[in-house]
């Protein structure tokens, strides 16, 4: 997938969003919070960058959105994975893992090859 390789960051954000949504419908603020907490604040520097990613995923049909009213009475847009989103998540996670392993192998100190 050369197109994705060129756009590593965007692809990464997409993958993180999909992964986060695997647990169930969430609004953007909750997604941002989860990613920040799990990555100890390393991955998501600007929370706003999340929203174009969400809308793009929606346009691709990987997530769908629905308006809801939170228990505190505010209107929020809830995102959830579609079936296509779920299979994209599986495929992309596998790709990502292979990628990380490959990079790790190269970066490991020489001599440890088994």
């Amino acid at each position: 997938m050369p197109a994705r390789d060129l756009d590593l960051v965007r692809g990464t954000v997409d993958l993180l969003v999909l992964k986060t949504l695997a647990v169930g419908p969430l609004h953007g603020y909750a997604i941002a919070g989860l990613i920040r907490d799990r990555s100890d604040g390393e991955l998501l520097v600007q929370e706003g960058a999340l929203y174009p990613a969400l809308h793009r995923l929606e346009a691709k049909g990987l997530v769908e959105a629905e308006w809801g009213v939170t228990p505190s009475g505010r209107r929020a847009r809830y995102y959830s994975l579609t079936r296509a989103g779920r299979s994209e998540l599986r495929a992309e996670s596998a790709t990502w893992r292979r990628y990380v392993e490959a990079v790790a192998k190269v970066l490991e100190p020489s001599g440890s090859r088994s």
Binding site: H27, Y29, Y51, A59, E66, V69, R74
Partner: protein, 886 residues
């Protein structure tokens, strides 16, 4: 998708992308601020920090909006397509519920569109489609008119051609051509009789054609390319020589001599003269220039020329006319009445065909229009049946266009399927037509149901949709008188509906009348023609030609010897009653010669021209041409004997009046050295140029004294013609293995395939006329059925209060006759007004022939009555009690 627990759905929230994004980001920031405040950050600092962690709000919102706008645009396109698709599917389902109607409509559309596409393909291929030459708009065919013969498109003499070529400035090139028999021995040793063209070396350059293999003739200077070299057509190269790529430089056997092949033409090359040409030969036109007596008398050449760039056809024509006058002034003996006559190559040779095809095109468009009105009638009946549904939908807010669209969509679907069927029908018709018309129309090999025909079919389908759908669609959306959906008795609609259908039936009757008048006039011409006697009996006579190649049959003695030998051996074949030979057959071009009669003063102006043929005595017996006076040719007419001739009755009458011409003498040809020919007999006239052409004065030379190197043999047979032809072929091969039997055909076929003026047109018009009448009858049946159903209650009341069934029958029939009669009158007037168009196709029938018009009126009125009969009988048998109870 379920929302998380505790979250209520919010379906009423705005769907506009703009406010969506704003609300979404606002929620994020508010939640963030709330959290920060909860962590103890002061409220004003909390907002700043929230925005800082979020990033550039306006830019992010704009990005999201862009993405959403794109998505929604795509979805709305998808939605409108889906909507259309659903509507189309619904319509198809609706149509499937009435398979009878659907099949009828598709079949009718298919026939109408198919027939029209076939005729338009024919017209396109023969007339419109540009010939495949470079600068085709500058190419012209040049004829030489022959005013004495009343001939516009005559052939050229070599001296005239050379004069034009030398003096013309308006044209940048001339090429002369003439047909030659070409008997080619193929790789497999088969001797195949074909057609060749002897051409100026300049021809291929003028036409802008490049060789497929080798090279073509090249014009180094005005001295022409002579010699043995030949250029093969692609088909010849492929079929006779197995597409042998090494053929260039080798010799082939052509007319019993060896000829080197210098090149092969590309597959898409078409001969500029009609007919398929197998081989192009270097020319020997100038041989005649050495014979000043004949170089301006032998009209045997065709010519193609190319206008210089920027010169108009008018300028070229004017220049040639001036040249022609100058030549005629210098050579009054030979050239008076002969003028150069250029026409665009694209239009050459189809002058007689174009009006026929235009009329056929008009007729088929008429037919298409009739089928469309019929379908409009049917569609209308259907729309009426759904009126309740339409009214309901309008009451629920459906726009007029939506309902009209539904009616139109139904017609469009029917027309589209009909168009597909029509393409198939057109292909079939074109294939049939090409075989049936092979000898009647030029350029038939250019006719195909191709991309151009497909476009025509598309346009026709669109026209058919609109014509057949518009009236019903308009009526379907007209508001009812009360404006509401209550449609039980729909009085306003009924009146409009009846009027519309009356008009449709009238239009049908008018078009049918128009076609029928054309059919009647041409059919009557055919009958008149069939009554003309040919003057010979073509039954049980087979003919073929045996071209004797000059390379082997150099002198008259050899030609005469072989002809006589062949005749004797043909007579010995079992099943052959008689056998004769001649120079040309009936229905072939007539060659002419000028004559002077001994003892008669020379007429003012050019000497009279008469047709000529050469034959042996048995030729007349074989064809059943009667001897009226004197004797036929016999063994006493030896080559070295006294020169004699036979004349036909037309010649005897014209030049000898009531006196007997036997024993009189005449000279044929211009030279004083020519011998006097004694008339020994008078034979009957034959219509040798087709039934429609009256016999012209003609004389016959004895074959023994005037042998031809391309003798035609006529065999009267008793048995199976094919068996006789097989035997004759063996005889020819055993006489000389290089000789072919060319163009074997029965004389009856020769006669029937000759262009008999109105045959093609009559066939088409009669076929279309019958179809039109049938369609009109169906239309009238539909109208009356509808009226009877509408008025069943009224009829029942009248029957109940004492009207007789007979009276009802008469009345309903009258409903049918009124629109039919109105249309009939219109159609007859239209026919009368346009009858001058067919004048040229009629034979001894006036275009306003009253008998035909009366007959057409009777046929149409009877058809209308028949169409109304079944529903009328139904009406007269209405059970008053049952109908009124409903």
């Amino acid at each position: 998708m379920p929302l998380p627990p505790g979250v209520r759905p919010d379906p009423w929230h705005s769907k506009r992308p703009d406010s969506d994004v704003q609300a979404e980001i606002a929620f994020h920031l508010e939640a963030k601020i709330e959290q920060l405040v909860a962590q103890g950050v002061p409220a004003d600092r909390a907002r700043e920090q929230a925005v800082a962690e979020f990033g550039p709000v306006a830019a992010i919102a704009a990005d999201c909006r862009d993405i959403d706008t794109h998505r929604q645009a795509r979805m709305s396109r998808l939605a409108s397509f889906r909507g259309f698709w659903l509507e189309a599917r619904g319509t198809v389902r609706h149509l499937a519920r009435t398979p009878g109607f659907t099949a009828l409509a598709i079949g009718t559309f298919g026939l109408g569109i198919g027939a029209t596409a076939a005729v338009s393909s024919l017209f396109d291929g023969v007339v419109v489609k540009p010939l495949p030459y470079a600068h085709v708009d500058r190419l012209v065919r040049v004829w030489e008119t022959n005013r004495a013969e009343g001939q516009q498109e005559g052939q050229l003499t070599i001296a005239d051609f050379r004069d034009w070529q030398r003096a013309s400035k308006a044209f940048d090139g001339f090429a002369a051509l003439r047909h030659r028999y070409a008997v080619i021995t193929s790789t497999s040793g088969e001797v195949v009789p074909l057609m060749g063209l002897e051409v100026s070396a300049r021809l291929f350059d003028l036409l802008g054609v490049r060789p497929h293999l080798g090279q073509l003739f090249r014009d180094a200077d005005e001295s022409e390319h002579r010699g043995e070299a030949v250029v093969l057509s692609y088909a010849t190269w492929r079929d006779l020589f197995g597409a042998d790529s090494g053929i260039v430089g080798r010799t082939i056997r052509l007319n019993a001599a060896d000829h080197p092949v210098i090149g092969v033409l590309p597959p898409d090359f078409e001969s500029p003269l009609s007919g398929s040409i197998a081989v192009y030969l270097a020319n020997d036109f100038d041989a005649l220039l050495r014979d000043p007596g004949r170089s301006r008398r032998m009209h045997f050449l065709s010519a193609v020329a190319r206008l210089a760039p920027g010169v108009t056809l008018e300028a070229g024509r004017a220049e040639l006319a001036t040249l022609g006058q100058r030549i005629a002034a210098a050579n009054p003996e030979t050239n008076r009445g002969h003028e150069p006559y250029p026409v665009p190559l694209q239009d050459a040779g189809i002058a007689g065909t174009r009006p026929t095809l235009l009329l056929v095109l008009g007729a088929v468009l008429c037919l298409l229009l009739i089928t469309c009105t019929n379908l409009a009638n049917l569609a209308f009946a259907r729309a009426l049946g759904r009126f309740r549904e339409f009214a309901l939908r309008r009451a629920l807010g459906a726009g007029r266009w939506q309902i009209a669209r539904q009616v139109l969509l139904e017609q469009a679907i029917l027309a589209a399927v009909g168009a597909v069927l029509g393409l198939g029908i057109a292909g079939l018709l074109v294939r049939l037509g090409k075989t049936a018309l092979a000898s009647q129309l030029p350029r038939l090999d250019r006719v195909a149901v191709d991309g151009r025909a497909f476009l025509v079919v598309l346009v026709l389908a669109a026209i058919a949709t609109v014509v057949s759908g518009l009236v019903p669609a308009l009526l379907a959306v007209r508001p009812t008188a009360s404006g509401g959906p209550e449609v039980k008795d729909r009085p306003g609609l009924t009146r409009r509906a009846v009027r519309a259908r009356h008009i449709l039936v009238s239009v049908q009757a008018a078009l049918a009348a128009l076609l029928l008048v054309g059919a009647g006039l041409t059919a009557k011409s055919l009958l008149r023609l069939a009554q003309e006697t040919l003057g010979f009996d073509p039954d049980r006579v087979v003919t073929f030609r045996v071209p004797l190649p000059p390379a082997r049959y150099a002198d008259q003695a050899a030609v005469r010897g072989t002809t006589t030998q062949l005749l004797e051996r043909f007579r010995a074949i079992a099943g052959v009653v008689r056998a004769g030979a001649a120079y040309s057959l009936p229905m072939e071009n007539v060659s002419t010669t000028s004559i002077r009669i001994e003892g008669q003063p020379a007429p003012v102006g050019p000497p009279p021209e008469v047709g000529y043929n050469a034959a042996d005595g048995d030729y007349f017996r074989t064809l059943g041409i009667p001897l009226l006076r004197g004797r036929l040719f016999g063994p006493e007419d030896r080559p070295d004997g006294r020169p004699v001739i036979l004349v036909n009755q037309a010649l005897a009458r014209r030049f000898f009046g009531g006196r007997s011409p036997i024993g009189a003498r005449l000279k044929s040809g211009p030279n004083d050295r020519d011998p006097w020919l004694e008339i020994v007999g008078v034979v009957g006239d034959i219509r040798r140029q087709g039934r429609a052409v009256a016999p012209v004065p003609e004389l016959y030379y004895p074959l023994a004294q005037d042998p031809t190197s391309e003798p035609t043999f006529a065999l009267q047979v008793t048995g199976e013609p094919a068996a006789v032809l097989r035997q004759a072929r063996l005889v020819i091969a055993s006489e000389d293995a290089d000789l072919p039997m060319s163009a074997p055909i029965s004389l009856a076929r020769v006669v029937s395939r000759s262009v008999e003026g109105p045959t093609l047109l009559a066939g088409v018009l009669i076929g279309f006329g019958v179809l039109a009448v049938v369609i009109a009858a169906v239309g009238i049946y539909g109208l009356i059925s509808f009226l009877v159903a509408e008025r069943e209650r009224e009829i029942a009341v009248r029957l109940a209060v004492g009207a007789t069934g007979r009276r009802v029958l008469v009345e309903t029939t009258r409903w049918a006759l009124r629109p039919a009669a109105a249309g009939l009158v219109g159609g007859l007037l239209l026919a009368l007004a346009s009858s001058s168009l067919v004048t040229g196709f009629l034979y001894h029938v006036a275009p306003a022939d009253p008998g035909t018009y009366v007959l057409v009126a009777l046929v149409l009125l009877m058809t209308a009555g028949l169409g109304a009969l079944i529903p009328s009988i139904r009406a007269s048998r209405v059970e008053p009690a049952a109908a009124l109870k409903e």
